[in-house]
Amino acid sequence: MQYTLLILVLPLLAFVVLGLVDSRWKARTAGTIGTTVMGIVAILAYYTAWSYFTTANPGGVYQKFIPFQMEWMKFSDQLHIDLGILIDPISVMMLVVVSTVSLMVHIYSLRYMEGEKGFERYYAFLSLFSFSMLGLVVATNIFQMYIFWELVGVSSYLLIGFYYTKPEAVAASKKAFIITRFADLFFLIGIFLLSYYTRTFDFDVLNSGNATVFAGTAGLSFLGLSLMNWIMALIFIGGAGKSAMFPMHIWLPDAMEGPTPVSALIHAATMVVAGVYLVARLFPVYYFFAPEVLHGIAYIGIFTALFSAVIACTQTDIKRVLAYSTISQIGFMMVGLGVSGMGGHHGLGYMASMFHLFTHAMFKALLFLGAGSVIHAVHSNEMNKMGGLRKYLPVTHITFLIACLAIAGIPPFSGFFSKDEILSAAFEFNPYLGSLLIFIAGLTAFYMFRLYYGIFWTKEYKHEHIPHESPLAMLLPLIFLALVTVFAGFIPFGKFVTNDGADYHIHIDLVTASVSVAVAAVAIAISTIMYRKENKISDRIVSSFSVFFKIVVHKFYIDELYMFITKKIVFRLISAPIAWFDRTLVNGTINSFATVTQWTSLQIKGIQTGRVQQYAFVFLLSTLLIAALIIFI
């Protein structure tokens, strides 16, 4: 399987080529090259998946392959950083997800970004992102993962700030970068601690479940929590930053300033699930050596899911609604992982989480691309500038509806199957947790249909031009993703991805399924009553909960809290004294050296007149003096 190396090398080459030619080629050429490369990568990824899943389980258990491994930086016999490609069920699954969504976004952007300034730059960055994300999923060791982790952070920063002349975009890109970078600091500390005590970076060794690997940490604890828990919690903070878990979720809604296809690729389908992938990748370590942290992940996940679902009900910018819904769905995945056990039926949560990751990537990319198509038609993100668009955008309308049904968890769409597995896993872990999840699923259905009705039904907004359906290159990805969304639920996912590699037969828990479908149906019905036709119900509800509503519209004032903490506390109490120390003491010392030297030289500089004749005179006199001394003494 040496050819898997091409999956990484091709996008990197595309990035270098497109980045170097910049605008010397026609925009169309650059776009075609980027898309073609991504197409080849997608085919390679599908081929990898096909050959892996058909041949790699001789004994009913999937094997791991490392088709490529090289020692990149060797510091000592034990400390060396490798680069390699790890092929196992989840990495293959992620290869398929990333390459599919990336290919769809490449095709879609050919028309969506047409005529934008910096079209080549856009495709170069997309290639860079694809390269980094693919490198992240196939990483063989945690340090390689960290390298690509940072690379996706950079490409996300570059793409959010693509419209760099817009101040909001610049601010959003900085915000995303700083927050994820801050979280990555903890990730890095976690990696260092982990490798210090285990003497390895390798996932293979770490995930072996072998307690001797972690023998170095035995008995060590800090502030009442065992060292292993600390390490894994630190690593999870990195994942929480990338996956926008509370309280580090604030960058994701702002990241919607980037071009919409970018939001679909990076901030919905692939990069934001990197945190989920990280936890899944290190799942055996979490499960066997830090179970408390794993449970903590479940609680953080469910809190984030609830929190952002509530906010999503009040937002009016359609991309922001989708952003909060993304955060909420990632919370679902985290819950799935957090409640999971190891192997067989206990591993249901893990399987469900990966399944949801897969289906969510497809239908959320579809939602974002659909939103892009709407924005393309009406040139606005605001819901009140839309309404009644179903007549003008029939294809977008149908595909968007399919995605909404999927995310709401209505059978037979894919979201139903994956969400249902998470729900039943959560119920087995803790019934209260499961009930809360069902409630959140209901909220999801509610706000998604609020969005759907707000865009396609309700009162028609008077447009200056009649909105027109998007071109074919934008509709094809929509149709493709819609088809995937319709049929992906029937994939026997348990056959492919489980945490012990063994086959698991998915069966639908009828009670959970019927309850969750009923809740979703009720939520959709409420949404239909409130938003399908223009009426006063929603206004009345808002005015009766006006205080609460105001808090939610302002996203629980989390952004303001951050600003308060950074500006009022960190800047004033920490940064200002440090700045004073630097400016007065450090600078002062150096400056006083300079001042003394300068003063001395000013005092004695009169001697140096620069007049050669004077020098010669002094020279002559001294010579005579010395001669006289020699002669007469």
């Binding site: 300068q598 000013l602 007149t609 620069g610 007049r611 050669v612 004749q613 010669a616 005179f617």
Partner: protein, 126 residues
Amino acid sequence: MGEFFSKLFSGTIPLEAYIVVSLIMFFSGIYGFLSRKSLLMILISIELILNSIDINFAVFNRYLYPGNMEGFFFALFTIAISACETAVAIAIVINIYRNLNNVEVDSMTELREPSANETEIKEVNE
């Protein structure tokens, strides 16, 4: 002294006579170098100094090591080198004249302008 004059008038010029001439030339050169303000005059003074040295070379060779040629050759070398030096110096003087419209040494203060210098240092500090 009597011996000196008798030698002088008897047709053989004594060594000291040459040295006196060379000494007068040398110190005239030194005086000119120190006192003159024009670059050209300074240059001429340097030539005087060099020529006095040439005389010394030739005379000492003639009187102390008759039959050897080293002193004469050195004199020739010195002449050649002083010619080169003059050529370079004249080129510099011409360039200075083009820039400053005079060749007075006192007017060449470009590199030490005290006032401009001090303000610049202050600016850097602030």
